[in-house]
Symmetry: D2
Subunit: 352 residues, 4 copies
């Protein structure tokens, strides 16, 4: 391998949980240098005001968001903002030659009709949206490598799609039977003072939310339809779990061929992901714990077949802020930069 | 109402979590007196050795299990033992005139063929098992009132069946589409030193277990089949949640009539449970939190319909140790004693 | 006992955690009827909008705060408001003949100089403040019984003072050596969207706060000085613990007489609290868990002596929202109404 | 720097929490190769049976403990065993030329009289114990670099001593006033099925344990006495906190010079630890959260002075399994091998 040069990166929206994960990962990455941290609410404050534990390794002040300043400082820009803001920044940043990785929903949909229906925002950048690449490397590795604009997947879609892709791509299940019962730690709700995310409310308790109408549904369906070659509608139910991080998606689908056993499916999954270093297929009878993935960019997948009912049950565990967000964005950056997909990303959880 | 007399009750297996819930409930119950606490491992020890916080309200010593002693002290006996032990005690206690409420799986199956297949224990008391009443008052209120032996339901079956009963009884869903994704606090694993139940292992994490083979499956299916009037096989997946108490069952099924909306189903559920004081149907758009039920004998049910997929999603929340175990047993006792179903049982959770 | 009549009660500030505890306790209390719920932010909303799990037992709408309305509806008023608001309401409510129990800091200080110094609010009701009774029944039972206005203690002071009172009252320790290391669940921070109280931030973590300057310090010192008959300054350090409820105060002090052993102190504490049904002194070697007190109005106290260092260590566990707040207020109401101190208050925690 | 060669390391007691931390750290360390994993209970099992999430990066089987085998495979041996077992292994391993790092209490005491008094085990290796170096690099860096046998500190002593060392070494406080109120996550209790460590018992609760008699007391006192140049007795109280990892020690002591302010002490601490990369002194008004240290080898220290009482309060936060155990052992290994103290050790917590 020839000597590689470090690239300069900017993080816009550095104060939130996505932002601070990016900070941690890019600080530890051997070939990136953080040159800019942007935010509105915290502009002008030292970053260590927001996260005092990082004082010893980062001496930057959060800056107001200014496209010219960003483009003058950084080759690559991560946008870690609430939905609806990236669409103001992506175009001008691209025009100035930056590569852009957006962690919001703004560039996940090829067809903005779907976006408008589920997110309700007016916007006119249909052409740009159509060019953006969906940043799930396990499916779109080659396109990501060539992309200027990546729309990084949501946390639930990542866990769900890694569970479903081999099944749908190879026509192993009836698409209309797909049910995704997903469970997430509360950091998915962001670093904002919502009552329902308080420890006093959310700890020692459990509830579903957004049933039959969560915005990650059309995102999952878009990719599932691609994979299946037909329109797929999925049942998706998220739940809030009393823990800070981690997602488990428990996915149900009816097998076309009821003769398949779990060992068959494990073999199929292993083959499907043989070039995907971040996906680990577990041996028979082992089901993933979210804690195994926490702090890492890994996705652990466990597989079971119920011969009584003819269904396959896939359990997929990720860290919602890593493989489900910031880690996956850095994985995309690695591909876009011609580096190894694993460069600089943590792969060993601490346990317990 | 005429003056009612208190009855004497025994708890066999008082040292576990089921036992200590019974102790709390029966101490607070206006018409019961605890006269005997039995256990093997802790025989001879003051009960307050096991649970020091109860010292000020209970002055009993755990006794070795002896049928004659029990029958001489108590009119009603709660058996809160591991599976396979109640079947040694129930017959002789009944023979001595005691009423028996068994919290284990031993008397939940009318047909012991199913029990033998899933629990693997040899036993010959088929006739007694066939006489036992399944202790789910919302379905079998009248039979329980006349029973001498009640097999109290498992925690998962209680949450699952309260969600499914109106749907199956009235033929509203396709039985073969039923999927139950259940989530439980760790106290369901009992008061025993298992590695996977340690806080260090289970906290801040989440995993499925017993996928496609959990023993509560045939119990759910037995009652579902009764309700539907046909053999029903369900998909049941339990998960371990990082909290001490509470169960949420998220139940999926395809509606026969895709024109039904959630308000229809709410009306149907309210009617079905109109005489059931412990089941609360939530208004549209409200989904139950397990914490609302904790410490009470309540079951909260939320209902959603997904018009895109034609499915109904029912969320059912209980306290696994109360409505899912000891509270339900006391509810049965109330019925067996001719008292109000709600007598002495807590109905107001503390929150948060 | 002659037949007692129920009294009508109002709760001002019903939407917060103190408010909802009062709602639960007063609903279960045999001699109170809630006739008014007041609040600013939630005025006009059904109370079950705020706490859906209570819909089945309470059908009241939150009203804007109006003294005339309150006084027309209620004989007793609980003020559960942020500091600095009760002082606007107490005087007019008293003038209209209501009894007032204030859960804020406004009427905890006899001498408002201390209040002004630590809370920084201007106010001129020195005379009323001097008449208010500090609502810690274990110390001021007789005064509370006669009071029109009770300033209910803070959560930390309750746990701390119950641990310290026998020691200081009987001169057993050197007052200048008192250190209180206190630990609280996060509900003490209230039902408000603060970042540091989010589950994602506070779970699986631990930190001190307000070190050397927490506002409960002068409140503790006021009572300690009364007990000791001299000015007492205490070291008080609160910590935020990853749990919803509960306080443990670990109190250190140097014994005047190094010959005292823990059994002596247990005897002294038992004697001191012999008429206090809510304080339980634990046997030698047993230390309280906060969970034992949760949901109840109890305070569990464990006592240890370190003969190597000459110090006594007292551990005092309460539920911060019950004995530390709403439960204690109801205990005061019982005294003010001539009822048993224990009437209607829970004394059996559920466990686990 | 010249090219450095990797060394081979063995872990005896690999199945516990200390063991699995060592596995993770040594796998990620650039200059170590794990060549042997030993254990009794799990001998013969693939390590990934115990920790399935590590399957993709470690392919070793746990071996029965045999000194000859260990010495033939490894240059350095980590002993991560219950107290009282290392003393059987250290001598023969040293005799065969291995360097030994013991994570138990066996070699923490220079004078075995103290060990015998607090641990109650008979042993005769006084001479070896006297030669062992106490593995706290911030105090004994030079001795560790030359050591063949290191007795790694306990978790509580590490947090406590890093808080106390500057104070005692420089005579800033009255030694007899030292009180350490320490709080630990439950992983400190080890990977064993104890009832009190179950999530159902320990979650949402809090309690002290081992009050006035915890075995870490004499270990802290031994080093404090060294630092102060006089016999020091400390008050040490550990508490169990509902979280998997992390220790916070809140340390109280009376200042000799009441004129010192916190900024003075911060300066003194910064100077004391200026060559200690793993200790971070926080700015005024910032107190450490344990989560900042979790997964890293860092110790965060916050400092406060109470001018009203003349006391200093030091808060010291570590990960009990990292700086409090395995991380510190690897830090010692770095020193013993002539490497940088920070080599291969994580220094960036993920947050939240």
């Amino acid at each position: 391998m020839t000597q590689m040069e470090a690239i300069s990166v900017a993080i816009v929206g550095a104060s939130g949980y996505g932002g601070v994960q990016l900070v941690r990962l890019l600080l530890e990455h051997p070939l990136t240098t953080i040159t800019y941290l942007g935010g509105e609410g915290s502009a002008g404050r030292p970053y260590s005001d927001l996260y005092p534990h990082l004082q010893h390794c980062l001496d930057l002040t959060v800056e107001a968001v200014d496209v010219d300043v960003i483009a003058s400082k950084a080759q690559v820009v991560f946008l870690s903002l609430p939905n609806g803001l990236a669409l103001e920044l992506a175009q001008p940043l691209l025009a100035k030659g930056c590569k852009v990785l957006d962690l919001s929903a703004d560039y996940r949909f090829r067809d903005l009709a779907t976006y408008r229906q589920w997110y309700g925002t007016e916007r006119q950048d249909d052409q740009l949206a159509a060019q953006a690449v969906y940043g799930l490397p396990e499916l779109y590795r080659d396109k990501i490598a060539l992309a200027q604009l990546v729309g990084c997947p949501g946390c639930y879609p990542t866990a769900s799609l890694l569970a479903l892709s081999p099944l749908l791509k190879q026509g192993l299940v009836l698409p209309e039977t797909v049910i995704i019962d997903a469970k997430s730690g509360t950091s998915g709700g962001g670093r904002q003072g919502k009552i329902n995310l308080l420890l006093a409310e959310a700890d020692a308790s459990l509830a579903a939310y957004g049933v039959a109408r969560h915005r990650h549904t059309p995102e999952i369906e878009q990719i599932c339809s691609d994979l299946a070659g037909q329109t797929v509608k999925v049942q998706f139910t998220p739940h809030l779990i009393p823990m800070p991080r981690g997602i488990l998606a428990t996915v149900y689908a009816t097998l076309r061929d009821p003769g398949l056993v779990r060992e068959d499916l494990i073999t199929i999954f292993q083959a499907f992901y043989r070039h995907s270093p971040w996906v680990k297929i577990l041996p028979p009878g082992i089901y993933p714990q979210t804690k195994w993935a926490c702090g890492t960019n890994l996705c652990y997948i466990g597989i079971e077949v119920d011969e009584r009912t003819g269904r396959v049950i896939i359990m997929s565990a990720i860290d919602n802020l890593m493989k489900g967000q910031a880690g996956q964005a850095v994985q995309c950056l690695n591909l876009m930069s011609g580096w190894s997909e694993t460069l600089g990303l943590p792969q060993l959880a601490f346990y317990p």
